[in-house]
């Protein structure tokens, strides 16, 4: 079968069940589906967070996500990938991001889903600004040194 790929950047929430059913019914050769969902936590760096605003770089966001998925596809024998990342205003427990990978076998699906999330976190142009009791602040990248290391 041909490789199935859907990538969406959107403000609205997504329905995991719809996404899963679409992926699952693509082929009876699918033996494993791994799904990652990132949810908004109500606490960060010890402070209560009431809101999150997700900024992105329209155009580059979609291109970079596509590139990440294509890289995963070159490395592992995948049958399908569905990826949705939300932007805009979010509140605690909201779904932020979803990566769903289908393959004939478990190892490929796990490895590719993990890989896509790793790459997304260090390469896709999204930025989080959070609202706490004491005001708003941009979330610090945990690996900010790494990200800039070989650029200059």
């Amino acid at each position: 079968m041909t490789f199935h790929k859907t990538i969406q950047v959107q403000t609205q929430d997504f329905d995991l069940q719809t996404e899963y059913q679409t992926l699952r019914t693509l082929s009876s050769g699918i033996g494993a589906i791994v799904q990652f969902v990132g949810l908004m936590r109500d606490i960060n760096e010890g402070d209560e967070v009431s809101h999150l605003f997700l900024e992105h770089y329209p155009g580059m966001t979609e291109k970079s996500l596509d590139k990440i998925v294509e890289e995963a596809r070159e490395r592992w024998p995948l049958l399908g990938v569905r990826l949705i990342h939300r932007v805009g205003e979010l509140t605690p427990s909201d779904q932020i991001v979803m990566v769903m990978v289908a393959s004939a076998h478990r190892q490929a699906a796990f490895a590719a889903c993990d890989f896509i999330m790793d790459y997304l976190k260090t390469r896709a142009p999204f930025w989080k600004k959070e609202q706490t009791n004491t005001g708003s602040r941009w979330v610090e990248a945990k690996d900010s040194d790494n990200q800039a290391a070989d650029r200059w």
Partner: protein
């Protein structure tokens, strides 16, 4: 002209979303960056440390990446999606 974009904390600190620079004499991202440092003391201070990440035409780029008239060059802080 070269279109320059700023995002997130960098955009806020520079108080600037986007600007245009003449493309004459500019062949690399480094040269675009150096021209930005000349814009104002605020730009010089904000862009020098920490040095931002960059993209050319919506693809991840390096200081040595080539630029030409009509390109879109973006500077931004480390990403925090996911």
């Amino acid at each position: 002209m070269i279109r320059v974009l700023f995002f997130a904390s960098l955009r806020e600190r520079l108080q600037c979303d986007a600007l245009e620079l003449p493309s004459e004499g500019m062949s690399t991202v480094q040269e675009v960056f150096d021209a930005l440092l000349q814009q104002s003391p605020l730009f010089a201070e904000t862009l020098s440390s920490p040095k931002p990440l960059m993209a050319v035409n919506q693809e991840i780029a390096h200081a040595t990446s080539p630029v030409k008239a009509g390109d879109e060059v973006a500077f931004y802080p480390p990403v925090t999606g996911g």
